[in-house]
Structures are given as structure tokens and as C-alpha cells.
């Protein structure tokens, strides 16, 4: 099954070109044929393991040279052939980021297997990310107990998780009088204490293994702690968190442009009347990608301007995904409308890029908030 001669898992994946070539090959040969199945519900852990061994989840980690550009490009290669797996690659990448940046020895011990795709974990930060900027309320609450915290509440919709896997999570710690003291961030192990609850059916990307996670007095030990308090940690990684998502969008955009070009030889004479032609889309995409690569050089820059730049590329990535995927369907015509065609699947993938946290509306809301001058109340 594994058609790629991947280096052994201890390999440091030092050669960017080799990592990208290996990841690209797995994406083309294994993911592309499975994309429809994954879209309908197949959770491709087997292929994801191969991607891990090829180095797809390593680039952005300090241990592997903090090559965010490589991580984004690898994610883009994956997403170009399957947006759902591109999204899970992102989730897996940021989970690794949490483990590494936590500095917690217990989590660092687990990081190697995670990076190599031997174990899997995602991120349950959609709700807290919105909660921390004031869009919605925090779903989980924690109480201090001897040796750790006790956490209760339900996290809605966490992807890339399954029994035996794990995900990053944040809970609000309240004082006795009910007021908020601070937040903690921890690695939530989905063991026998956690019943995963099925989500309603989505219109696509069903193979992302997305569940609701109800917790009742779940004990979080020191070994699981990512950050206590969580806010300074989130502040430090949020640029990197959002920037990595550009990889999902990049793949959807490039995949759409590929589909448009495929149709050119036979349909070019009529397609010339469409707007958003491939060269235009490619020019906008190249400019966007170039900006993202510059930002990838300094992923932990804590300045407001940097974060604005990151939100700007992420937002433009979502907008261009929508535009490119729609154009791809129009360029392919009826062929693109077939149930098993890539363009119609990408329409749904692109909309996912546009609505997943931070969605276009959140990104614009946050940018407006950052641009506004603070004045006395």
C-alpha cells in the first residue's frame, strides 16, 4: 500500500524538497483516489500515518528547524488533493505545536510519535478562540483539585479525534464566587472517561472524524498541562495557529486552478468568456502565497501589525478559495457538477475554509477590532 520509499521515522526530514516531493506523491497516489470516500465519511488514518512518516507534520516545530513555510507547503500539497485531509493536517500540526510550546516534559515525550504520525490528535480550540476574543462563551469550566484540575462542559465539534487520541482544549477556571480567575490549556486524552457524541451530518468533509466531547468532572493531571494560565500562551501562538491554516486554503485554490487548466484544451474556446480565468487566479494566488511565506519566517512575532497581516492572508485565502472553486466548477461545466468530481467537492471544501474558526466574518471582525484606536470608555 505504501508506495513511497519514505525515510525511517527517526529521519530528521531536513531536506525541504524531499519532504514536499514525498508528501506530494502520497497525496496524488493515495489521497486523490480516496478523496470522495473521505468526503463521505472515511477517516484516513492510514494515509495520514504515511504523510507523517514523510515529514508532513514536522516542519513548523522548533525541533525540526521552525520551518513554517515547509509545513504550510506540505499542508497545501495534501489539501490540493483532499481538503478534508488538509484540514486534519492543520489540526494535527497545531496539536504538535501546543505540545512542543508547552515545554511540559511529559508532552514533549509524546511529541515524537505525534510528529511521525504514529499517534494522532487535533485541536478543540474553536470555541475558546472565539471566547477569548469575546465572540462567544467558554464551553468548559475547570476547578482546582489536588494534583490538577477537574473539568466539565461540552466541547462542540472537535475534528481529527477518536477514542485513544487526544486534542488541545481550554477551560475557564472560576473563583468560588463564580467570577473568572483565568483559563487553563491542556491536552485532553480521549480515554474511557470521555464518551464521544456524534455530530449531525455535514454537507461534506465527513471523514474528518468530528465529534462533540462531553466532559463530566474530567481530571486533568500536571502531565497533560499545556499552559496555566492559558492566555499568554495563546497570545504567543495565535499568529502561528492562524497562519498555518493558510495551507488548507492554498491547496483548495491550487487544486481549483489545476481543474480549470485541465478543461482548457477542450473547453478553452468557450471558457474564455468566463471571468476569474486561471492566469488571473494564479497571479493572485502567487502573490498571496509569497506574502504568507514572508510571514512564515517570523511566526512568533507578537506585534499587532504581524497578527493583522496574518489575519489578512488567512481572510484573503478564504475569499480566493471561494472564488477559485466556483470558477473551477464553471470552467469544467457539467463534468464538474458530477457527484464524484473534484470541483464540486472543492466548492464544499472552500466553504469550509470560509466558515471554520476563524471564519471570514470572525477575521474581519477581529481585524476591525485591531485597527480601531482604543479610547477612554
Amino acid at each position: 500500500m505504501n508506495s513511497v520509499a519514505v525515510s525511517s521515522i527517526t529521519a530528521p526530514w531536513t531536506d525541504d524538497a524531499k519532504v514536499l516531493a514525498d508528501v506530494g506523491l502520497i497525496a496524488r497516489e493515495q489521497l486523490a483516489p480516496a478523496a470522495k470516500r473521505i468526503d463521505e465519511g472515511y477517516y484516513p488514518l492510514d494515509i495520514m500515518a504515511n504523510l507523517g512518516q514523510a515529514g508532513a507534520y514536522a516542519g513548523h516545530l522548533d525541533q525540526h528547524g521552525c520551518r513554517f513555510g515547509l509545513a504550510i507547503s506540505a499542508m497545501s500539497e495534501v489539501s490540493r488533493h483532499c481538503g478534508a485531509t488538509g484540514f486534519m493536517t492543520w489540526a494535527h500540526d497545531v496539536c504538535g505545536l501546543y505540545m512542543e510550546q508547552s515545554g511540559n516534559p511529559a508532552l514533549l515525550t509524546r511529541l515524537q510519535d505525534h510528529t511521525a504520525g504514529l499517534t494522532f490528535g487535533g485541536t478543540g480550540l474553536s470555541n475558546p478562540m472565539k471566547a477569548l476574543t469575546g465572540i462567544e462563551k467558554m464551553a468548559l469550566t475547570a476547578k482546582k483539585v489536588p494534583g490538577g484540575y477537574s473539568v466539565s462542559g461540552t466541547l462542540p465539534w472537535v475534528s481529527h479525534i477518536a477514542p485513544g487520541q487526544y486534542c488541545g482544549a481550554i477551560a475557564a477556571v472560576n473563583r468560588d464566587d463564580g467570577s473568572r480567575s483565568h483559563e487553563i490549556m491542556f491536552l485532553l486524552d480521549l480515554d474511557e472517561r470521555v464518551p464521544l457524541r456524534a455530530c449531525p451530518e455535514f454537507s461534506g468533509m465527513e471523514g474528518t472524524s468530528t465529534w462533540a466531547v462531553p466532559l463530566k468532572d474530567y481530571f486533568v493531571s500536571e502531565d497533560q498541562m499545556i499552559a496555566d494560565p492559558a492566555r499568554p500562551f495563546i497570545q504567543r501562538i495565535r499568529g502561528a495557529f492562524v497562519l498555518l491554516q493558510v495551507g488548507i486554503a492554498a491547496g483548495v485554490i491550487q487544486g481549483s486552478i489545476d481543474s480549470i487548466r485541465e478543461a482548457e484544451p477542450t473547453l478553452g474556446h468557450v471558457n474564455q468568456y468566463l471571468h476569474n480565468r486561471p492566469d488571473e487566479l494564479q497571479a493572485e494566488f502567487d502573490e498571496l502565497a509569497a506574502r504568507a511565506m514572508v510571514l512564515a519566517e517570523t511566526p512568533f512575532d507578537g506585534s499587532k501589525d504581524f497578527f493583522l497581516d496574518v489575519l489578512d492572508v488567512r481572510c484573503q485565502g478564504a475569499e480566493l478559495s471561494l472564488k477559485a472553486s466556483q470558477s473551477a466548477l464553471l470552467h469544467q461545466g457539467a463534468k464538474g457538477y458530477l457527484m464524484n468530481s473534484a470541483p464540486q467537492r472543492r466548492i464544499r471544501e472552500a466553504h469550509f475554509v470560509a466558515i471554520v474558526t476563524p471564519a471570514i466574518k470572525h477575521l474581519r471582525w477581529e481585524m476591525a477590532k485591531l485597527m480601531r484606536e482604543e479610547v477612554p470608555a
Binding site: D305, D312, Q316, E319, R372, V375, P376
Partner: protein, 447 residues
């Protein structure tokens, strides 16, 4: 009798942009409606800034034909203007004078309502509020001028190679782009934004005005530059207890020679303004009783109800950086065309820098707008010629009028001095480069 047949004319104050309309007169200073400009006495003063008749010029109101609000379909995306302050609207007006149909989109972080910014430094003592200052809503002006308005919208990114602009309400493309983003208050780290008011736009001024409307209060104004000085007088006249703070020994020390600065200080003292100079602020904190405590390098402290920072302006370099525009404390533009270092992008108003200096005054804006309008419409050039505008401090108790551009380090010569008036000049290479007149105004003398 010729007055009956002649149309009413309007005259523009070159110092502050106020328009004297013969039809309306200026009843507050005794000019009945219908008073012709030539019949105004020579010692009459601009009701906003106090310059005399000689600093007014005939204002020919552009006749702009409203175009119908139908959506344009055009392969050309059109002209996009960023910023709806006086500069942004001036650019739109100038374009519409020359071309009534080219698609124009105006994007602005603020509500885009039209107001005359210089009025902000005299409005509180006149009992004005935000509604009274708005001359036309942004929506009405956009309809009148046939432009698409995107108000409360921030531009966050520009890609010149794609002619693309990204905003907090989506992205759009432009054929020509005009930046009129203004300047922002430069707040030193010791002055936390959540505790210090600034007066550089109507919304923030309005916040301060509402806070002060609750009753007489103590207020510290940090920075005794032009705006700090003007507002100090405005607020003391409105019945507040004003302390003016500066690291220099006397107000406006950066612009004025010592004797002039001293006169201003004396005049402020007579008005009841406390001036504290020669002391640096090290921090501001909020006390439990909601008062703000200011701490000084000297170890002194001061508790006040409100703090206003008037510590100068700076241009935000974000858009210039992203678009790769030359920037040197302002968006660098060519002195004659106001084009930036990128093709198809122009800039005017407070955000620009011509040959290394910013010029944040009203007077140049309309000339800049005219040059840009010709440029973006590819019409025969109408070159902009920069000259230093008359600077008139809107301190009614002691008018200060500066002509020309004083240079730091060049000596001032005393021309005339008596109890009411001080006249000085700066000469360089045997030429007068700056002329300064500090003197009791006729208004105060009459009062």
C-alpha cells in the same frame, strides 16, 4: 444697487478653511445677513480662527452635477479613495468636477460624515456637540457626489501588482487609488490610550465632549503644541479647570521664539490655565475614585478628572509598508503630482510627506486634490505647488499668526514690541523666511 443683482459670494479663510457666506453674514460678530465681503470692516476677524479679511479669498463653489445612483458596469474597477476626512472628500469633489461618471468608491474607517476638523478645538466653549458639527452626513454626500461609500470599513491590505485592496468588508480592485488616511495621534507609552482622550477625529472628540458635558471638571492637557494650546483655551472658557503640561518651559516652544512663547504663557495664566513646564510624565493610572493620577519625573503627582493627550501626530505606516510605498514619517509623494512611489497610487492630506516634511493643514488640501484629480483622470497636468500656509493659532485671547516656515536654530529679530503686540521675523540669506505676529485681538480689546 448693484448688490441686488450680484450673486451672493463666498469667501474662504486660508488659515482654517471657514467659509464666509455673504448671504448668511456672521450675526455673532455683528455682520447682518447680506453683508458684502467688501463692506466688512477691516478689523473683523474670522469667527473660527481670528485672522482678518486679508487672509480670505474668493471661494468658487464647484458646481457638481449629481449623477444618478445606478450601478455602473464597467470593465474598469474605477477610482478608490481611502479616508473620508477633509482630504478624501476633497479628492472626490475634485474628481467629480472633472468627470461625473467615472466610478468612485470611498472607503473610510469612520462614519464618513463631513465636518470641519479645525472647529474641534473651539467647539466645547461654543456649546456644540457632534450633531451640530456634522455639516452633511456621509450617506448624503455620497449620494450627492455619486460615489459608492463603504463607511466604518478599514483597509487592511493593498497589493499594487494586482491593483487590489483588502478591507474589513471584503476586497475590491482599483484602477487608481488615492490614499487620504490622515495621521494618528502619537501616544507615548506613558499615556495609556484607555485613559487619555485625543482630539483628532470627531468620534473621539465627541467622547470627550460628552464626558465634559457632565459638569465643570479638572482636565490635564498633555502637550502644549498648537492643538493643546487651542483646546486649553476652549476648555477653560467652557468653565473647566485646565492644567497644561509640557516638557518645555513655556507653550509652543518648538514653534515660537522665547518672548512670544512667554506672552502666550502669561495670557494663559490670565485666563486661569495652570501651566506646568519642564517636567516629564512618567505614567498615568486610574484611581479608585475614577480620577486619573499623573506622575512626573520630578516625583510630583497630579490628580484630574480627565486627561487629554495632544502629543502630536504620526502617519500609520501599515498600508504603505504592505503596498511597498516609500515612506519617511509619511507617505512620500512627488511634489508636483502627489503620486507615490507605486504607479496608480496617489496620496494627500495629513498622511503625506513632501520632500521630507509633512504639512498638516487645511489650505494645501484642495490644491493637492485638484492635482490628483487631473492625474487619476489622465488629464493635462495641473501641477501642485507647495507653499507653507499661514498658521493661525485659534487662541482668541492672544492671536498668534505665523507666515512662512520658521527654521529651528535661526535667530529671531524683534520688529516691534509694545504691551499689546509683538512682531518678530526670522531671516535667512537676507530673506524673511518667517514673520510672526503675537497680539491682543480686536475682539478681546472690544470686549
Amino acid at each position: 444697487m448693484s448688490h441686488d443683482v450680484q450673486e451672493w459670494r463666498q469667501y474662504l479663510c486660508r488659515a482654517c478653511g471657514l467659509i464666509y457666506d455673504e448671504e448668511k453674514g456672521d450675526p455673532d460678530s455683528g455682520l447682518a445677513p447680506g453683508t458684502r465681503f467688501e463692506d466688512i470692516p477691516d478689523d473683523w476677524e474670522c469667527p473660527l480662527c481670528g485672522v482678518t479679511k486679508t487672509d480670505f479669498e474668493l471661494f468658487e463653489k464647484p458646481v457638481v452635477v449629481a449623477v444618478e445612483q445606478t450601478a455602473h458596469f464597467s470593465a474598469e474597477p474605477g477610482i478608490v479613495v481611502v479616508g473620508a476626512g477633509l482630504a478624501g472628500w476633497a479628492a472626490v469633489e475634485a474628481i467629480r468636477q472633472l468627470d461625473q461618471s467615472v466610478p468612485v468608491t470611498l472607503i473610510s474607517a469612520c462614519s464618513a460624515d463631513l465636518y470641519h476638523k479645525p472647529e474641534l478645538s473651539v467647539a466645547i466653549s461654543r456649546g456644540l456637540d457632534k450633531a451640530a458639527l456634522i455639516q452633511e452626513t456621509g450617506v448624503d454626500a455620497a449620494r450627492r457626489l455619486g460615489v459608492q461609500l463603504m463607511a466604518e470599513t478599514f483597509v487592511v491590505g493593498i497589493s499594487p501588482s494586482l491593483h487590489q485592496l483588502r478591507t474589513t468588508r471584503g476586497s475590491l480592485t482599483y484602477t487608481k487609488l488615492i490614499l487620504a488616511q490622515g495621521a494618528k495621534p502619537a501616544l507615548p507609552a506613558q499615556l495609556p490610550p484607555e485613559l487619555c482622550w485625543r482630539v483628532n477625529d470627531l468620534a473621539c472628540w465627541s467622547g470627550m465632549q460628552q464626558a465634559l458635558a457632565k459638569g465643570p471638571q479638572s482636565i490635564a492637557i498633555v502637550g502644549a503644541g498648537m492643538i493643546g494650546c487651542e483646546i486649553a483655551e476652549d476648555l477653560v472658557r467652557a468653565g473647566h479647570r485646565v492644567t497644561l503640561l509640557d516638557r518645555n518651559a513655556s507653550p509652543l516652544a518648538g514653534l515660537l521664539p522665547e518672548p512670544a512663547s512667554q506672552r502666550l504663557r502669561d495670557s494663559f495664566a490670565a485666563l486661569g490655565i495652570t501651566y506646568i513646564g519642564n517636567d516629564d510624565i512618567t505614567g498615568v493610572t486610574q484611581l479608585d475614585n475614577q480620577q486619573k493620577q499623573i506622575r512626573f519625573g520630578s516625583g510630583n503627582t497630579l490628580e484630574v478628572d480627565q486627561v487629554l493627550a495632544a502629543t502630536g501626530l504620526m502617519t500609520d505606516n501599515r498600508l504603505a509598508r504592505i503596498a511597498g510605498l516609500d515612506f519617511d514619517r509619511g507617505i512620500s509623494v512627488a511634489a508636483d503630482t502627489l503620486q507615490t512611489s507605486q504607479a496608480d497610487i496617489y496620496a494627500l492630506g495629513d498622511c503625506i510627506n513632501i520632500e521630507g516634511t509633512a504639512c498638516r493643514f487645511i489650505e494645501p488640501i484642495k490644491h493637492q486634490a485638484k492635482a490628483i484629480a487631473h492625474g487619476v483622470l489622465n488629464l493635462e497636468a495641473s501641477a501642485y505647488q507647495h507653499s507653507a500656509p499661514v498658521v493661525r493659532l485659534k487662541t482668541r485671547s492672544l492671536p498668534v499668526v505665523m507666515n512662512g516656515l520658521p527654521l529651528a536654530g535661526v535667530d529671531w529679530t524683534l520688529i516691534h514690541e509694545d504691551a499689546d503686540e509683538l512682531v518678530m521675523e526670522q531671516r535667512f540669506d537676507n530673506q524673511v523666511i518667517a514673520h510672526l505676529k503675537v497680539g491682543a485681538s480686536t475682539q478681546t480689546r472690544a470686549a
